[in-house]
């Protein structure tokens, strides 16, 4: 399956299992979503379970909070993560705090799906990676899959989770893995081992990272598109890197991180989002605090630049093979 098919399958599985699951968002109903993630669901489950909404992110998230208070398990879609900001007050002030402020009387068991990340010539408002805005909010869980297998399993786990989850889908990975070599032909998921998706219901647990490639020389902490880029660069350069796909940013799998960095003594944190105040800063701080005496080199932070995501200069912005390769070289040389 492609990642889009895996996400569609996860929604199908959950809607069939749980009548409280409802799917809504801009263009998700009859049309099946601008990326086809909800294709066929309305025809199968009816218009009161899968429906189009007005173009109002604040309304979509706010209504989902109220549905959760009733007892539904809403899965709202925000068409692009770049457009989640009008719904931010409802996410930060309401969904994230509802359980806490009501001492558990009311909860917000919702999963906000939203396509994110660049590498598709999306320009400023179709490329952003705003995960750090959400990892900073107490009460929200943040999930980023990097393969079709994980996308389905993590989405099912997110929908079943009783806490609000922001589910970022790297749209550069929807139809195939992306290794960072944008001038080479794209590879479809069909020729990739991680595209095997079991039928029916299964979970990939939240809070558990995946070691994508075992190695001894350096630890790479990545998620989403950058998982594939980090692995590809290591293999082309012949570096014995241990690439960890975090999968969940909050709660974070700190044990896997500590074990790996303690073993390798070298660590690169990698993300597409802008550098300053990005989630990489949190990762670097945690590694420094918890693995200080094992470190043999400064933690390398490889990220997007501190600029809005540019259109024509996309591949100059993107943390691609050159930036990653030089960071590998500095880590190994240290």
């Amino acid at each position: 399956m492609t990642m889009i098919e895996a996400i569609n399958d996860a929604l199908d599985v959950m809607m069939a299992r749980d009548p409280m699951v409802v799917v809504m968002g801009e263009d998700v109903g009859y049309f099946g979503g601008v990326f086809r993630a909800t294709a066929g669901l309305q025809a199968k489950y009816g218009k009161t379970r899968v429906f189009d909404t007005p173009i109002s992110e604040c309304g979509i998230i706010g209504v989902a909070v109220g549905m959760g208070a009733y007892g539904l398990r809403p899965v709202p879609e925000i068409q692009f993560a770049d457009y989640i900001y009008p719904g931010l007050d409802q996410l930060v002030s309401e969904a994230a705090r509802l359980r806490y402020r009501s001492a558990g009387e009311f909860i917000a068991p919702m999963t906000v799906r939203t396509p994110f990340g660049g590498g598709i010539f999306g320009g400023q408002t179709h490329s952003q990676s705003p995960e750090a805005m959400f990892t900073h909010v107490a009460g929200l869980k943040t999930v980023v899959p990097s393969t079709p297998h994980d996308a389905k399993g993590l989405l099912i786990a997110s929908i079943e989770d009783n806490d609000p989850v922001i589910f970022f889908e790297p749209k550069r990975l929807y139809n195939g893995p992306f290794n960072g070599h944008y001038s080479e032909p794209a590879i479809p998921w069909a020729r990739h081992p991680d595209s095997f998706v079991p039928e029916g219901h299964y979970r990939v647990p939240l809070g558990k990272a995946r070691i994508v490639r075992a190695g001894e020389a350096v630890t790479v902490l990545a998620y989403g598109t950058m998982v594939h880029v980090a692995r590809e660069v290591a293999e082309r350069l012949g570096i014995d890197a241990e690439v960890i796909d975090l999968r969940t940013l909050v709660p974070l799998d700190i044990e896997t991180i500590e074990a790996s960095v303690t073993k390798t003594g070298r660590c690169m944190v990698l993300h597409e989002a802008t550098r300053t105040g990005g989630f990489g800063a949190e990762l670097a701080a945690l590694v420094q605090e918890r693995c200080f005496y094992a470190l043999e080199a400064p933690v390398e932070r490889v990220t997007g630049f501190d600029t809005p995501y540019p259109h024509s200069l996309e591949w100059a912005y993107f943390p691609g093979p050159v930036r990653i390769g030089e960071a590998y070289a500095r880590l190994i040389a240290a």
Binding site: G59, G62, M67, A69, Y70, L72, Q90, E94, A103, F106
Partner: protein, 430 residues
Amino acid sequence: MTRVNLPKLSLHVPEPRYRPGDPVDHTHLAIPAAGAQPRPDEVCDAAQTHPLCLDLIRVLGEDDQAHGMWNPGLDAATLIRMLRLMALTRAFDARMVRAQRQGKTSFYMKSTGEEATAVATALALADDDMVFPSYRQQGLFIARGYPLEEMVNQIFSNRADKLKGRQLPIMYSARAQSVFSISGNLATQLPQAVGWAMASAIREDSRIASTFVGEGSSAEGDFHSAMTFAAVYNAPVVFNLVNNQWAISSFSGFAGAERTTFAARAIGYGIAGLRVDGNDPLAVYAAVRWAADRARANAGPTLIEHFTYRGEGHSTSDDPGQYRSAAEGSEWPLGDPIDRLMRHLIALGVWDADRQAAMDAEVDAQVRSAVRAAEANGVLGHGLHHPFRTMFEDVFETLPWHLAEQNEQALHERRVKFPDWSDDADLGNA
């Protein structure tokens, strides 16, 4: 660059009619006679309510009698119950402000003059209709039977506070009474109420949702999205917009009141709208009942503007003498909701001054007793609070590792500050 052949543009910045010390003349307020407003069928086309968005539905007249088609025809026992709940709300407010001045809590907000908007609304809805209040509907909690002692526990943030001292005073949550958790972020409850109502409709339930917002907060974007979603999905929801003329120091003109009524916004969304004398408990009851019946009949949402006056400061942190004329409230032409209902009951021959005095004494005693009971559980800052570990609970359903570590840090700091303290004593406090 200004073009010389065109007039200079000018910015209009609204200004209230009266500032501190100004004499007040309320004759500009169009106040129709009680009973003069038509009452369309509950399932009418929304457009039929448009005249009522610009009018003012009134039932209780100057003669203290109930008039017209909106008279809900309530029996004496219900009217006396309504009066008592409003009086209890006012007595509670008075006692809580005193408690705040005595340092037993940090903060309080009264609802003086607006008791009818909460109490009559609660009585007009079914007890299991879900209500999403703002912070000035304490009468709703009281009318729904949420225990006064629990309210005071929350206000004092003591060891019995059901919200574990996490919330600012008055931000109650009462799921058992079908009242939603109050948020400090204004107007967020509006789309949530719509979502709850949509969920009820999706599940083919018979319960409806209702929500409250002040006229000031109706300027928030959430108001617009809530109205749009309610209209699009014909959601079974009743919006109560309490127009008490003031949003802290900003008069209603800063929310758009100089151009039209707040009820008139319903017209643009294609939903039913009613504008009601918010100090007339019978009119409030009738309007909410009409809207609730409409929602229950799948005829759609209603926006009700409750036209009233905020009799006191915004909160215990506010001094209205700094920005408005005291005479504006004392000469408010729609009077006082408790006084008006009392005079109606007397005019009906079912009430008198002695019974009123006895009831006032009873509600005061009821409040005092609740405060005494709550005080035994502690007051703010006097040590009887929830255990430290509870600060980290309920952020998520289960405690993640980073919160477990921070919990240990908080406990460590406490041991440093109070070397004699033991974890067991803290747990016994819970």
